[in-house]
């Protein structure tokens, strides 16, 4: 009896307090992001980049005379958290648009939410190609990030330039690792049919002891290794591989932004030099007026000395969104979708175009060998170049 009374009261309290904030005039954008756990080192600057774009737009008077409100929420590392957080924001905070997610599985999960909730979703970081391919492609999902196909294929293009014949791969045993490696191998074999894949190592995601894998890879005697270990996973691998003479014995091409400033600084003295890797943005390149301006703005906004490689991811996704709203002249979902298709924007890497046919931005990445330089207290990618995606996407 008493228990029931309590139950009633609790229900009442819940209802009284959870009145959703009713829609103001602002355009509300939900931004679930990986902010706690191992990937937060990339999630955080990405969210900062998104905030920076919002500040710039709002300072200039907003879009269609309306201010933008960005709701950044932690969705940890998992797709189920991303799903839950996104749904909460859609139902409780009445967000108009959804941007965010970091891991590939989060991208797929958020894409699924956007399809069911009929809300535009732009993926700033998740790369897994099948998100924008049939049968998973649908009209509400867009990606401003580079995709796993482009990433794997650019690595193949670079690898093909070396005299390597025996290639081993190592990647985390989940969708991102599979999809990038799956793009790399056929593209490389296409360019260089004589290439042989001698071993494929699939440590579990978040493995802390790579040494057994390292010796197996070395025992297969490859000329070079292609890795899709990203972030901290790469650093751990590199620290453990170094003393096996790993990076002296074999060439190393690493996707997964092992060459981004955050990863390089995280690795400290243990960063292997000479490996070829990639990054979304490089604060030292290109040395042009617009890029220097971009880097300056990021540093000013985030209070950093060396602009994050990841701020651009959040910034560009939000820029696509705001430009599309401007072009559509409305926040109506269907019209914004139409406006996004084929839209070209100026952003952190120059011009980017969102393809109409698969809602994928034609985006490449910066690639280069990790090199020590006198100018900075940590190695950078040098010489670095932007490998465009145009010829790698289909």
């Amino acid at each position: 009896m008493r228990k029931l009374l309590v139950f009633v009261i609790t229900c009442m309290v819940i209802m009284a307090f959870s009145l959703p904030a009713m829609g103001a005039k602002k355009i509300v954008v939900g931004f679930p992001m990986y902010l706690s756990g191992g990937g937060a080192v990339f999630g955080k600057p990405s969210a900062e980049g998104a905030k920076m774009l919002v500040k710039e737009v709002n300072d200039a008077g907003g879009v269609l005379g309306r201010k933008i409100e960005l709701l950044v929420r932690d969705c940890k590392s998992s797709p189920d958290e991303a799903t839950r957080v996104a749904k909460e924001m859609i139902l409780k905070d009445n967000i108009d648009f959804l941007v965010g997610g970091l891991t590939s599985s989060q991208g797929l999960a958020l894409s699924d939410v956007s399809k069911h909730e009929k809300i535009v979703y732009i993926a700033p970081i998740p790369k897994v190609a099948k998100m924008c391919e049939k049968p998973r492609l649908h009209s509400y999902v867009f990606r401003s990030a580079c995709n796993s196909k482009t990433e794997g294929r650019s690595a193949a293009v670079l690898a093909a330039k070396h005299p390597w014949k025996r290639i081993a791969t190592v990647g985390p045993d989940y969708s991102y690792g599979w999809s990038v490696t799956g793009a790399f191998i056929p593209w490389l074999k296409n360019i260089k049919p004589e290439v042989e894949i001698v071993h494929q190592a699939w440590p579990k995601l978040g493995e802390s002891d790579y040494t057994p894998f390292i010796s197996v890879i070395l025992a297969s005697k490859p000329d070079a290794v292609f890795s899709t270990l990203w972030g901290g996973h790469f650093i751990t691998f590199a620290k453990q591989a170094r003393d096996y003479g790993f990076f002296e014995k074999v060439g190393f091409v690493s996707a997964g932004e092992a060459g981004c400033m955050e990863a390089i600084r995280g690795a400290g003295d243990d960063m292997p030099l000479g490996i070829i890797s990639n990054a979304y943005d490089t604060f030292w390149h290109p040395d042009t007026a617009w890029h220097r301006d971009w880097v300056g703005r990021v540093n000013k906004f985030m209070g950093t000395k060396y602009a994050s490689s990841w701020a651009g991811t959040g910034y560009d996704a939000m820029k696509f969104l705001t430009e599309a709203i401007k072009k559509a002249g409305t926040t109506d979902t269907d019209k914004v979708i139409k406006a996004l298709e084929g839209l070209t924007i100026d952003c952190s890497v120059g011009k980017l175009t969102m393809r109409a046919k698969d809602h994928q931005a034609v985006r490449g990445m910066y690639w280069g060998p990790v090199t020590k330089v006198p100018e900075y207290p940590f190695p950078i990618l040098k010489p670095v170049r932007y490998i465009p995606a145009d010829e790698l996407m289909d």
Binding site: V8, I14, F17, L91, D112
Partner: protein, 308 residues
């Protein structure tokens, strides 16, 4: 009919009226609470009534999720059949796992349930061709006759109400009283000629059945399912819900689920330090409110009555 039942019906009617407010958010939140409330209640049949600490209940919730999801998406069964079968998958898994677990006691029981749930998780995570690995199973749509959130809410309300009714009947039956006797003193219960292990196993199976039912409800509610639903932190979370509400009151776990889910939704809007807050709540609970929310309020009411 007793007064208690009248109040229950009143609450049911109140909840049934929620969608009339027109808020999608209430409907979403309440469906979520009902599902996890059922999950916590079914755990409590083991925890509060039989005295067995399962640290691997995510397994049965996850099995429910995947049974329902796979039967619909891969086997192409209709929702009705798939959902009806879900509970039996959970019960079957609980039978197999429980058979081994009930041989152990206390911390060893907890560790073995944990180990089994980790095996379930690892299989789900690694069996990519069947379960989709880390990307899970997606696009599990509402069935035709429940094609909106509101309709699905009513369906959930009905299923959870019936389940709660059955669970309540069970704990108030002679069977339930035997479980409580086992909880209070397993050795003595054995002496009076009751097969303790058998009763523990039965409680385990019933608990697994209803956990899987809640998993099945969740799979369709969420439209997509992931291996993390079988991972051990989920087991910890449902334990916290149960303790938070009060494991020695029948409706305690339901209240715990409601409070925890509501708080999480509110707190995560303001800060990323939700784990810190949850941990602090849990510590305060253990030290100052060992009976959980419901236990605390019951005590207050008792004190207030006796002072009158």
């Amino acid at each position: 009919m007793s007064r208690q039942n009248w109040i229950l019906i009143a609450i049911l009617v109140l909840m049934g009226l929620i969608p009339v407010t027109g808020s999608r958010y209430y409907v979403f939140l309440l469906t979520d609470i009902l599902i996890f409330g059922l999950f916590a209640l079914s755990l409590n049949l083991l925890l509060g009534y039989t005295g067995l600490v399962s640290f691997g209940h995510a397994a049965y919730f996850g099995i429910g999720c995947y049974a329902c999801g796979l039967l619909i998406k891969k086997a192409g069964l209709s929702f009705g059949i798939a959902f009806a079968a879900t509970g039996f998958f959970g019960a079957a898994a609980a039978l197999i796992i429980g058979f081994f677990c009930v041989r152990l006691t206390r911390i060893y029981f907890a560790l073995l349930t944990l180990a089994f749930s980790q095996i379930v998780w690892a299989i789900v995570f690694k069996w990519n061709s069947l379960t989709g690995g880390d990307t899970g199973i997606y696009d599990i749509n509402f069935p035709k006759f429940l094609d909106s959130r509101t309709k699905y809410f009513y369906f959930t309300l009905a299923v959870v109400s019936i389940s709660v009714l059955i669970l309540r009947k069970i704990v108030n039956s002679p069977f339930g009283r035997i479980l409580m006797t086992i909880r209070d003193n397993p050795e003595r219960t054995e002496f009076i000629g009751i097969n303790v292990k058998l009763f523990q196993l039965l409680a385990f199976i019933i608990s697994g059945f209803f956990s899987a039912i809640s998993g099945g409800l969740f799979a369709v509610f969420n439209h997509s399912i992931f291996p993390d639903f079988c991972y051990w932190p989920v087991s910890a979370e449902v334990l916290i819900m149960t303790i938070l509400g009060g494991m020695y009151s029948f409706f305690g776990p339901l209240v715990g689920a409601a409070v925890l889910l509501y708080l999480r939704m509110e707190v995560t809007s303001y800060t990323v330090y939700w784990p810190f807050i949850l941990g602090t709540i849990l510590i305060l609970l253990l030290f100052f409110f060992p009976g959980g929310i419901v236990g605390f309020i019951e005590n207050q009411i008792k004190r207030w009555r006796s002072s009158k």
